[in-house]
Symmetry: C2
Subunit: 114 residues, 2 copies
Amino acid sequence: MRVKSKIWLETEDQKIIFSDGRRDLLRAIEELGSIHRAAQQMGMSYRAAWGKIKASEERLGFHLVATSAGGPRGGGAVLTEEGRSFLDKYEKFKAEANTAVDALFRSHFPDGRP
Amino acid sequence: MRVKSKIWLETEDQKIIFSDGRRDLLRAIEELGSIHRAAQQMGMSYRAAWGKIKASEERLGFHLVATSAGGPRGGGAVLTEEGRSFLDKYEKFKAEANTAVDALFRSHFPDGRP
């Protein structure tokens, strides 16, 4: 028996502000330097990826991704400083939350059995 | 900005052992004394409710619900002692986990803003 959890941030009216899915998308953009390639890697359309980023940015109140147009390889995308800093904060929170949930699971179910 | 979480118990091969949905179903059975009426209240079929209970029982290794057939009002259903005790344990764990996640959220996002 093991514990699983999904933890995310949302608005008062239950719209996703940020989640592990969006974290993965931003990490892919950081790695690949392109929303298009990040979307491909995540198995979603460019339009869907862009929509998620825009929605998070609107709800957070700052830009997560900065894009540059043109150049021989097409436009590129990088995380903004605020985006990177928010992402770090989110990941620290998530890691501590997962650790806490795992520890509580072990304290209530010490041998992993019901 | 607020934190939301879903926490559940599963097997190594990712099958649900117990979740808030099943807790609600068992609580409804406890309240209504009938799987049929509990299923109705939860907006699911009797077959679906029964299937979930059976799956949890199989994965837990004990019975959660005891049924009695016949009588003027049809068969009834009650929680077994093991079922009730497991449910209490699950709810204590869940309450503490939610409290811990909320506290960590407040420590990382003290003013509830990103």
